[in-house]
Subunit: 335 residues, 2 copies
């Protein structure tokens, strides 16, 4: 069934059928009825590819997810997916682990002829104003590593101040009397937000006259099981450590279990701070102190902004959202 078949069956030209399909006003209502009934009868659905080939309008929105699909990302994904579908766009999800995030993004946009794209995670420090020249696509970067804060006008960003957030978390531990503070990062070669968080941690340590120790970095791979294993061996070796700052809540849970299974007490023996503000931190026993990211706001703003950009209703924006240190019951005050 093609538009030509429908045209013949309806006794009209293909242009008329096309007009009917696309709700053009200038079609006699009789003709429209006739065509519509044939379409209905034969269960005709226009070929999307042919359409896209003609119009530049693909109605494709891409979501490019870097690295893990952790629960934090899933929550965002769900919100985005709901809004995208409600707008009649198609959501194409791609997950990758390529080192070059920028190339991957550009390839993704071209290949799928995306009109808009949201990047979730990744490292975009090599980004340039002209990176998206001749691409004509609305881009929103979310939770990415983007060193410089220029007033980029070829893409939008929504982020939290990852360095300041990590700084706060670390300072909070120091204020509570901790000096031997380990940090649990993701991968060893993570160049995304994890890197920025590490810098915040490092600065807080240094600002307070504490010596930076490379061996206080634990690589937890953003994953609860790995976090558990790595924390277990780390804690066995480093008895003087009194606190661990994990840059994701799932890793914080792994650390917590390691503490318990080593016969230690969370809080009394080892203080723990997480990051993300997932429900699980709040519902763990004891409640884990964490840096809460406004994930609902992040996802809502990113989609809203994307559609505003698509509709030409706004210039590119660079939004910095607030984080909040949510106190749990996982930190001991040392005198």
């Amino acid at each position: 069934m093609t538009i030509t078949d429908i045209a013949k069956l309806s006794g009209v030209g293909v242009s008329t059928v096309s007009r009917v399909i696309n709700n053009h006003p200038d079609v006699k209502s009789e003709t429209r009825e006739k065509v519509l009934s044939i379409i209905k009868e034969y269960n005709y659905v226009p070929n999307n590819s042919a359409r896209i080939l003609k119009q530049s309008n693909t109605k494709n929105i891409g979501i490019l997810v870097k690295g893990v699909f952790n629960p934090f990302f899933s929550a965002i994904l769900k919100n985005i997916s709901t809004s995208v579908e409600a707008s009649g766009y198609t959501m194409i999800l791609q997950h990758h682990n390529n080192p070059n995030d920028l190339d991957t993004l550009v390839g993704f946009i071209k290949e799928k002829k995306l009109q808009g794209v949201i990047c979730l995670g990744g490292n975009f420090i090599d980004i340039k104003e002209e990176s998206f020249d001749d691409l004509d696509v609305a881009i929103v970067l979310l939770c990415v590593n983007l060193k410089t804060q220029k007033a980029w006008n070829s893409f939008s960003t929504i982020s939290i101040a990852d360095d300041i957030a990590a700084y706060e978390a670390t300072r909070y531990l120091i204020e509570n009397g901790h000096r031997n503070i380990a940090i649990m990062l993701g991968d060893r070669d993570d160049l995304g937000v994890g890197l920025i968080r590490y810098e915040g941690y490092k600065r807080a340590i240094e600002d307070n006259g504490i010596e930076i120790r490379e061996d206080y970095i634990i690589y937890g791979e953003y994953e609860v099981t790995k976090a558990y294993e790595k924390a277990t061996s780390f804690l066995k070796e480093n008895k003087e450590v009194t606190a661990i700052f994990a840059i994701s809540d799932m890793m914080a849970i792994g650390v917590a279990k390691a503490v318990v299974n080593l016969g230690l007490k969370i809080r009394d023996d080892i203080s723990i701070v997480g990051f993300d503000g997932m429900d699980v931190a709040k519902y763990y026993e004891p409640t884990i102190t964490t840096i809460k990211q406004p994930k609902d706001e992040m996802s809502k703003m990113s989609v809203d902004l994307l559609f505003e950009l698509l509709n030409g209703e706004t210039q590119h924006k660079h939004i910095l959202l607030d984080i909040e240190l949510v106190e749990g019951n996982s930190i001991k005050k040392i005198n």
Copy 2:
């Protein structure tokens, strides 16, 4: 940049460029090199729509997710997405909450011209052998409610025996001496796997001569916060209950926190069984006893099966995977 531009720049015909792009063997290697270098230099990416228009081959794989995007689904999604992309297919993710899952599926297939689709969750009890006639698409249903077990030959299924799993969980509680056992389901109108699990629970209760009580059903909406709230009010009202079977681990965590916050002890006062076998059950303190679904196997098999179907290497299959009751430390033995 189109194939014509590349052809001109390379000094060859478009057919040759096309052959290079599609890895046809009969191109002189010099020519191939030349074309490839031009493609690289100009960062050319073929127009997918034009390609699809010629080949009927859309290379689109749809993933239709019903209801929540819980961590269990996310884990599966990640696996699927990785395999789909590795095969050069495009993954289109759609999330819905429509009551008619079958209609939604058929619309999705037609609109996106899908060659394959995996459904994650939903209610397909109305499915018929001829539901997918003249659709020419490979369908794999995963974690869905599909009452009858005919040897359907128009789609494949991968599932666990949700009723038996729930039966086992409930029987395990009964064997440990519990009589007043509540169950926490998802939504009130969930017609997916939750319904089957309820039936397993009900049968176990009845088989052991215990009276079924409708007021022992708690609707937790598959979500930790709701689970916490609902469990809190439920436990205040029903002091005689000694065990709660939650049909997802995230809900089990919510229940656990409710128990603690009411000043009760998990296990000694209220026993808890979860469902899914998520890491979080294992790393919670105490460890939550749960029914473990083989999620890695499920996702791997579903994609493998999908591609075998697409390549015509197999007939439709109906695979039933084993579950495992993983003992934690959340169940008290009552004499």
